[in-house]
Subunit: 334 residues, 6 copies
């Protein structure tokens, strides 16, 4: 099995402990995550050897906490660069009923933003690795970070390391046009893309062709394959029935065909990390060489599990996911 | 825009912090509210200048807490009279699923009950004000409090101050007949009434005329206008799908016509204060001189927001309500 | 009214206080229960005189806590034998959405397991009692505990004490065949059985006859009556709409006929103890000599209440249950 | 051993859960106690059969909680009268460092205050009892409650029941002169008094005779014996080194002589109930007929234990107190 | 009495809610403060009219929380400028036993740092004011902030507004030499200085003259008066007996003489804000025109109170401080 | 630097979250530790490569939590054997004031107890290691575990791995004579012993020779060296001033001489793990080849730090300990 590298920024989530709005609360629960760190932790619990690369402040207790958090999940942290700059963080007011969740970022001037191309030794980072996972969030952080990302995917290609790229468009970080431009620079170096209907229709502005959601999505993936040579891709389709109840389906495109699972409706306990778990599940299936149907179904249920768990990641293993699938909607097991 | 005075009793809500019944819990969360204080706080956050008038015990730490609570929301508290008597309080066991919420009052012998007509200087209380808001709860407290209320509305009329009156019938405080008799003494001095179908049908015992809920409600409002000269009125229609899920609509009567919004179904996090926020929303619209449809829709969504927030009031502004309306049922905004 | 004895093992439930999985949590809430103790506490609050018999470790603070817990509910604890061995406990991860609740037992080597037939003075335990309630869990604990159970029911028969027996099959404690064999040894001494469709179809492997659930259940009860002389029986039918939403109905078999109530759908706050409350409700009705329909409806609503309450038991009285039935789906009562 | 009756008012203590002042806190921990209830619970855990008599509101969840609380400790509650009126409560801000603890009472208009002489059947209350324990707090509540107390001690005398009386002077409830007058009406019916140096010097205004504290106290007790025929008495001497550190000694007067223990300095975790535990310890020793020295030392250490425990009472037994005395100032026992 | 303006930066304190180190905790309590805001809040509760001036981010929920926090204490917030930039914050691990408290700042790039001289209308800010209070922390933030401070004190002088200046040297923000240079530019415009022995000896490097602490301090104050024309000054002397136990004394210099109080030893609950309360107490005394001895003693006890209270400020009034002084080291007041 | 192996049993500590006694609490905080695991975690944070060996149940969520806990600290867990049996646990009531902490064990029938000599491959466990650390607790668990310990130390000797042995006598696990006999079987294979005055005087019953504590301790160590060839040893001397205040000194014996530090008095926040941190500190110094005085002082302060930290271990590094030593008794560092 391949060894994996993920690279991005880690954030501290501050969420009111008493369920009140940020303007009224007096206490916070704290969670550590980040799209790429979440994928790293997920893959580690699923049995893969994973390293996470980022930059963090020197002698900062939150940086230490983040490293202990990764280490707890078995993720290797030796490559992390310590330097000046801040810890990135955000306040999360979870959605409730009709009210959407809201994020207020405090992620300017972070250590990652001070990472310079030339100080990163991609060759040794990729030594012994078979896979690199990145997301569009890193490119969103700054023009210079986008250059670092481009350097990373080029170096990966040179090193024979496969690249997966999750669009993860964040409207609070940059405008759609900028994101689209950046993503299109990355795509030529990518082996697998996590991007869906909205990304192609709204971000890339591609023409919608086909009668229904699935036909349209398949047509987008064909164009992606044609234009950028990315021949496998995946995405979820999320319908918000209420902030506490979502319906989710998973799609996988390969060999020019779109595969899907049956949609699942479920209550949402903590939505953060849900998309990243789907990504980890798909990567897990691809690295294991599993069949398409099993892979999507696994990724989908694994993603649902992460929505049911407080925190950005879970510590479930393959056996746990199988147990969940087999026992859904049963009474207490005792 | 008018400056507003509200007058009533403030209460301490004791709610089990662990979700257990009062008979089993060992800890409480505490909230400060009261129908008139809730309207005052709501209007203040919506941008109005508001004073709140009540009586509270001297040198009592909960009285201090209540004043700090009002002050935090920008409500003026200088007129509050300090004297003997107790703080009013109640235990709330929130409803859950099929089980209705329950209130156990401990509000006898409070300071407000010791307020005497002659010690209140209504002329200076109304100086510079354009609006007085009261509720039926105050009349329910005692015969003498009802006389204070009557004195208040008469003085308001003399001062050219408009009066809004929320029935807010509380069956644990007095029988329906007594309430009806008292309300009818107040109505001649009132400019806007918050009262609905049940109030007219069950409390006043008026004949139900018309085919459906809306027709019946409109007929009630006509009679109200005919009998008491109250030409504008409003109310909500609440359907309890479960203690945790309500459907709410809002109605406004003016120019002899009934206006309504589209009903909203939503999960209930903390139902207390929901009705008062509707009242505040309507008063806000009336004072702003907004159109009928916008006013009802705003009041309805503002009320829903208060159901989603822990505590008797929220600190949302007009911009927040607009943001809520625009983003309902979306995914995390990040 | 009869005085009641229940006999079984008491357990400490350890449930993550922060809603995280056991592998991630740092704090637990603790609850004391056990199928027979739950029935004892329920019957005590419903107005019966109840004694609970078990074995607990000497000078152990959790044993003390358990005794104080029973005593708080008015259950007599004088007969409890103190000896060596451990306290039984289990970890509970409550179900959420599609995910089933899970129990991890730590109940080996407990004090109850050291109870020897000869040290129990059944004659004095049954003195002045009219009813004994036991469950299949006790037989599941060990071969020797099953012998103690058999001794108990035989002694009850000799003493003219009626016996109720709740199958309460626990798949994590023993295989179905062993349980079936043991239960069949107990049944000849039993007056009322709590067992349902699954117990007969899956545990006993009885042939399913009849068109629908109710016909099949009635046919099972007929066979039970024919084969073992148990002429009254009851059970619930539980449908898991989600881990947080169940539909429940109750059945009672007597005089060769099956009686039922209308099913109730409700949100589940804490499922533990739900079945035991149904049992307590039925026993209450039988001991009060109430009509079949009232008895099932009472037991069903009483069971629902226990699902809405944190902890294995509630402290509700008959008046509370009546209040609940009368006020379901109403707004705050204030 | 004698069976004991105690009689008084039970209170709910509301103490900020977050250690903030009452004016700033948003949550409370709740404790149930009262000087006489505390003695009842203490004596019950020390192995005596104890009944507690008071009045509580009907169908009030806090009244239920209080009864469950007494029942949990094994105290009999059958004699409690249910009637109108409120639950008594108080806010406690515990002392810290140089800052004294502060109590704000909310105990007007309680159910106990509605107790009428004639509705109490002292003969049956004293049936089978050997001891009555009361405190000066009950007389402080109202003139009519003082008459009830006088009726109680007279009835006790008639029934051959010994009476212990704890002065427990509360300056926030009544002036010293009133208390002194009332206490002097009670004393002729009393067998054992809990009162100390300050009570005689400041409340009764007795002349201070003797060179040091102990000589003065002995002289007071002689006068008590001479004037009122109370031949045994006891008290603690408390020195406040800081709100969190006290030095305590215990005194016992009998046969015309004053006995004492060695003073103990200790940290205070929760001071409430400390004096009542000393009283319970002395009563325990008197009822057991223990030697003077052992009795004072036991009562003193038992009182210290209650200062170390959160809540108004502890559940320690004789064995626990002995263990505490034997192991004080040792390392973890493991 | 004078109306007061204070100006500085407000910070969010993040303190582990479970007492664990920042690197291990999962939850924080949050407090809002800042040296100048603390003085503003203190003076407001002591009965003065106070405005606070700062810059805060636009539409940021923590900015809103800070404004509500000031408003709750009665501090006027209308002058606050909203603009870009971050909220300043810090992590506090409180000291325990021998271990010193530690602060990790996250206060770079804040909104205050974007304040430009020219956008501040000092004339209207000082309109109707009699006093300006600032601290050295603001000058420490950046060179440009120091220029803003200089502009403020010059404008105050022009407006006839008295200026008090608290050195509040923060070694984590700037080196001693820089601070000394900046402070010396401010001093010519200052009427009252809060600075002590260490500030003169270590920061300014002034020669130590005199036999003991008090003689040396007096000599420093003489030099301050001679060199900078600052004729009144004050300071505390803090001895750290342990992180949880301090000894504090207060000094006031006026008319060329040094006045002091008796030192107080006390337990420390929350040290933050302790120094600012001393400053508020002195300013209160100066504005009230109280005698030197009363003023120092009041300021000292008021400061001690703030050490005993969780949070950066307290809500105590003059009456509360007097009550504290009168009742120190007494038993529960009940 | 040497790589280290530690071997023993890991326990779950259940400590009441609300500070109440076990018999009264409803919630627990949970900590994972064990003497040998604590040393492993300490050494890992101090910069060493450490493996921990034990046995844990298969597919048990607490076993998973324990492994994640070790992993978080960087301790290698690959050698841990998964098998049947229970998780060991204990209830801790921390000491307070005069009251000693108390431990109630629930550690019978654990997985470690099922470890059989023959299933452990000591040769591969010691491969690449330079040091083995064990404690007397493991021998206390059972006769067969003592045989495993003997096998371990013999195998270590064969592999050229140094052995440190901490007596850690637990009176609740076995009698002194049994422990002494077992320890004497282990000592011949040991290079460094952690044992002190009480161990030699009370456990081994050795004659006390010398005038004072230090002379006596030195004489004991001489005898240890003479009788068992253990030429280096260390211990702490702990004086319990109160459960919350200890005085601690450290001793180290080498080259026939006893070295010591200056005793430290400090407040105790969480005493668990304090001794193990001293051991880790000494081992750290020995492995680093540091001077005797520095080593003892470091170990002593490192031990004190662990007393100030909630949990059985801390995550402090060498730099943190140096910072603590340099800044003790200072004011907030900001
Ligand atoms: Ca999640
Ligand atoms: Ca994603
Ligand atoms: Ca609400
Ligand atoms: Ca309302
Ligand atoms: Ca339940
Ligand atoms: Ca059952
Ligand atoms: Ca206590
Ligand atoms: Ca007392
Ligand atoms: Ca403070
Ligand atoms: Ca300061
Ligand atoms: Ca510790
Ligand atoms: Ca140790
Ligand atoms: Ni973590
Ligand atoms: Ni994500
Ligand atoms: Ni399972
Ligand atoms: Ni508030
Ligand atoms: Ni009254
Ligand atoms: Ni938004
Ligand atoms: Ni309980
Ligand atoms: Ni059950
Ligand atoms: Ni009701
Ligand atoms: Ni209790
Ligand atoms: Ni012990
Ligand atoms: Ni605040
Ligand atoms: Ni910048
Ligand atoms: Ni006082
Ligand atoms: Ni841990
Ligand atoms: Ni950990
Ligand atoms: Ni065994
Ligand atoms: Ni430092």
């Amino acid at each position: 099995m391949s060894r994996v590298l993920t690279f991005g920024e880690m954030l501290m989530r501050l969420q009111p402990a008493d369920g009140k709005p940020v303007s009224q609360t007096g206490s916070y629960n704290v969670f550590y995550g980040g799209a790429e760190a979440n994928v790293a932790i997920g893959l580690s619990h699923l049995g893969h050897e994973v390293s996470y690369f980022t930059a963090l402040p020197e002698r900062h207790p939150i940086a230490k906490a983040m490293i202990l958090h990764l280490q707890k999940a078995g993720v290797e942290t030796d490559a992390i660069i310590r330097k000046g700059g801040r810890i990135g963080s955000y306040y999360l007011e979870p959605g409730v009923s009709l009210k959407a969740a809201n994020v207020v970022y405090d992620r300017s001037h972070t250590s990652v933003l001070r990472l310079a191309d030339q100080e990163i030794d991609w060759v040794s980072l990729f030594s012994g690795k078979g896979w690199l996972h990145i997301t569009g969030i890193t490119s969103a952080l700054s023009e210079s970070m986008h250059h670092v990302v481009l350097a990373a995917v080029k170096a990966a290609q040179s090193a024979g390391v496969k690249v997966s790229f999750d669009f993860n468009y964040r409207s609070k970080l940059w405008p759609a046009e900028e994101a689209a431009k950046a993503y299109k620079e990355i795509l030529p170096y990518v082996d697998h893309v996590f991007a869906g209907w909205k990304d192609f229709a709204w971000l890339f502005g591609w023409k919608i062709e086909g009668d229904d959601y699935e036909a349209q999505l398949e047509s987008f993936y064909h164009k992606l394959s044609d234009d950028y040579g990315v021949t496998t891709a995946s995405s979820t389709r999320r319908e918000i029935l209420s902030s506490g109840k979502h319906r989710l389906n998973g799609y996988y495109f390969a060999d020019g065909k779109l595969y899907s699972a049956d949609p699942i409706s479920f209550d949402v306990i903590d939505r953060v990390g849900g998309g990243d778990s789907f990504a980890a599940g798909i990567l897990h299936g691809m690295m294991r060489g599993e069949g398409t149907a099993d892979m999507i179904r696994f990724a989908l249920y694994y993603s649902v599990l992460t929505h049911l768990v407080i925190g950005d990641q879970s510590d479930y293993t393959e056996v746990d996911v199988a147990h969940f699938m087999a026992n859904q909607l049963s009474d207490v097991s005792r």
